[in-house]
């Protein structure tokens, strides 16, 4: 089958939904004429015109609000942030407005809105490196989706666009693939696996809330998203050489979360490592640990190992950034700890 990179897969999903549904519009900085800072929206302006692809000023709060207003009145709006770090400029619109409108209206208003963009640490310093998903996991009324492969990305972006709620769709710069400016570096991260690159040409939807077992195993469960999923798979490879069988689960969406798949795995392995690139404290990994505590405590033979970014703004120097962000070795060490505990 035809192979695509992640950026290209997301792009195809968006284009197909825009073709199928006139109400889908796109907005953000440099998304039109320029085709998007990471080329995800390449050529869309040409195909769909300036009434559906809006090149906005640098006004994150403003154009997020525009997306909400459009979503309230019959559109499905896709809003791109050039880096997800900039979503904080629009935080009130996302947290206080988009996420709350459906409930505040007693279910009468809907906000079909996709908020998407790239994140992840790639040597750009504290303001261009964050992983932001936990802020929105903690914001009721939103869904949070994170694809780790091109196949998942296409199916998930289509579901996100069709969803009637605000959906944060998180993309990792290092996973975009060679076609994108983020791709150069991607190729140099040796842990990135060439998985899920066979992408069907026809549109397909992957339901939100369905985790995917990226690798089946018996001895220890590793739960990871985005780039960390690839590092977890690298660890699974390494450990299998030592006779240890690792199950790697990709939640694919954190809200809704597929607790069943996770619990079934833990019932089998009794040992878990959770991995996330975001800041550890009150982050994704913390919530996963708490969820496992809630549902699987008596299945655990050792404390869940939580592996996440250090509780620090992300430093510029590559050696320091590497120390903050979980590396293959860190995940491997955690797996070994949970196995020996």
């Amino acid at each position: 089958m035809r192979q695509l990179g992640l950026a290209a897969a997301i792009r195809e999903g968006i284009i197909q939904e825009m073709r199928a549904d006139q109400s889908v519009i796109l907005m953000g900085e440099d998304v039109g004429k320029f085709g998007g800072a990471f080329h995800v929206t390449h050529d869309m302006l040409d195909e769909f015109g300036a009434e559906r692809v809006w090149d906005t000023p640098i006004s994150e709060a403003g154009f997020t609000g525009l997306g909400i207003g459009a979503a309230l009145t019959g559109m499905r709006a896709i809003v791109e942030y050039q880096y997800l770090d900039f979503i904080f400029c629009a935080m009130d619109q996302v947290v206080n407005q988009a996420a709350k409108i459906h409930l505040m209206s007693g279910g009468r208003a809907k906000v079909p809105l996709v908020l998407r963009g790239p994140q992840g640490a790639t040597g750009r310093g504290a303001q261009h490196s964050q992983s932001i998903e936990a802020y929105f996991m903690h914001t009721p009324g939103m869904k949070v989706v994170l694809p780790s492969t091109p196949y998942d990305a296409k199916g998930l972006i289509i579901s996100a666009i069709r969803d009637d709620n605000p959906v944060l769709f998180v993309e990792h710069k290092l996973l975009y693939g060679a076609a994108s400016p983020g791709g150069g570096k991607a190729l140099s991260d040796t842990a990135i696996q060439a998985i899920g690159m066979d992408v069907p040409e026809e549109p397909y939807a992957i339901p939100l809330g369905s985790a995917d077992i990226k690798r089946a195993g018996d001895d220890v469960t590793i739960i990871a998203t985005l780039l960390m999923l690839h590092r977890a798979l690298a660890v699974a490879d390494q450990l299998s050489n030592e006779g240890i069988s690792v199950e790697v689960i990709d939640p694919r969406s954190l809200v809704p979360l597929d607790v069943e798949t996770i619990a079934a795995s833990i019932a089998k392995t009794n040992r878990v490592v959770v991995v996330s690139e975001d800041t550890s404290r009150a982050g994704v990994a913390a919530e996963l640990v708490a969820t496992i505590n809630d549902h699987c405590f008596y299945d655990l033979e050792a404390p869940v190992q939580r592996v996440a970014a250090g509780d620090t703004p992300i430093p510029f120097a590559p050696a320091a950034e590497r120390h903050v962000i979980p590396q293959v070795e860190d995940i491997r060490a955690a797996a070994q700890r949970v196995l020996s505990d």
Partner: protein, 335 residues
């Protein structure tokens, strides 16, 4: 630099104007007034939940603006939104039921005073974060343009809201793209305790449109007809694809900022002077002077408005209590 504020007391100049429009505006303003006056009394005497912000004295803005719109045009409102809802034909019964936190409320008891909303009437939401509705209304204008629907979108907000970044970002985009949007600054001269001169470097708020290459108009906000006319011109511009307008309607909030807030930061003479410039009385006097209605006719309308609110209260009292778990159905929208 700042336009000196003159308190106008003269009757609205109704000569030769459309009687039906004037009477309808009069009735709407009375309903809005009575809705809030009765609420105030209910808050004093019963266990009403939450809080509320009264627009008593400002009714001509809401009613004048909305009277120039079509039913399918959209608006966004604020924490001080009752009058906007009344003007936009949100059923009084449902509004009152919402204040009582009842299931039949316009937001099913989930929103309350600060979030009164009714999509079926083009009322897109009351946003109680100051300034937050401005880009949302702008998005409705963008959507109208994409759908080629001919609708205009109006955002109501206060004099305090012009200092939020959202005002700036939204107005720039609306003007840049000639969106069919209308921005109404309900300048009641205070943002809680802060006067316009204390919070805005350019206290002539309509003039702030200069930065967006957009027309800015100041209008007597206690003259429903003047507000109507200014809005009508803006609506025409918007529907013709000529872009947005900023309208500053000069008015006064007679009550405190919220429920029982005493507003001690305002000179008593100032409040009194504005009480004597009441927009409802000015319209009544104008209609009588122009021979459009008799005192009797107006009294009859007054009685009808009072009864409408009485009935809304009676209705709300009989509505069903929100159950503890109702909200679970409204967290996310699912097919």
């Amino acid at each position: 630099m700042t336009t000196e504020i003159e308190i106008r007391r003269q009757p609205v100049d109704c000569a030769g104007q459309d009687a039906e429009l004037l009477l309808r505006m009069f009735r709407k303003m009375l309903e809005a007034r009575e809705f809030e006056e009765q609420l105030y009394y209910l808050f004093l005497t019963t266990a009403m939940p939450g809080t509320m912000h009264q627009a008593v004295g400002q009714e001509a803005v809401a009613v004048g603006v909305v009277s120039a719109l079509n039913p399918d045009d959209t608006i966004t409102s604020t924490h001080r939104g009752h009058a906007h809802c009344v003007a936009k034909d949100v059923p009084l019964d449902e509004m009152m039921a919402e204040m009582f936190a009842k299931r039949e409320g316009s937001c099913r008891g989930m929103g309350g005073s600060m979030h009164l909303t009714d999509f079926s009437k083009g009322m897109l939401g009351a946003f109680a974060i100051v300034g937050s509705g401005i880009p949302i209304a702008t998005g409705a204008a963008l959507s109208a343009r994409v759908r080629n629907s001919g609708q205009v979108a109006v955002s109501f907000f206060g004099d305090g809201a012009v200092n939020e970044g959202t005002f700036h970002e939204a107005l720039n985009m609306a003007a840049l793209w000639n969106l069919p949007a209308i921005y109404i600054i309900e300048n009641n001269q205070y943002a809680l305790s802060m006067t316009v001169a204390e919070s805005s470097a350019l206290p002539d708020l309509a003039a702030r449109a200069c930065a967006y290459n957009m027309p800015g108009v100041r209008v007597d906000g206690n003259d429903a007809l003047a507000v109507y006319e200014a809005t009508r011109a803006a609506v025409e511009r918007a529907r013709a694809g000529e872009g947005p307008t900023l309208i500053e309607a000069l008015t006064y909030r007679i009550r405190g900022h919220a429920r029982f807030e005493a507003a001690g930061y305002r000179p008593a003479e100032e409040v009194d002077a504005w009480k004597n410039a009441d927009p409802i009385e000015r319209l009544a006097a104008g209609m009588i002077a122009a021979g459009i209605a008799s005192e009797d006719q107006l009294n009859q309308i007054r009685g009808e408005a009072e009864r409408a609110i009485e009935e809304a209260i009676a209705y709300a009292e009989t509505c069903s209590e929100v159950a503890a778990e109702d909200y679970l159905a409204y967290i996310t929208a699912e097919e």
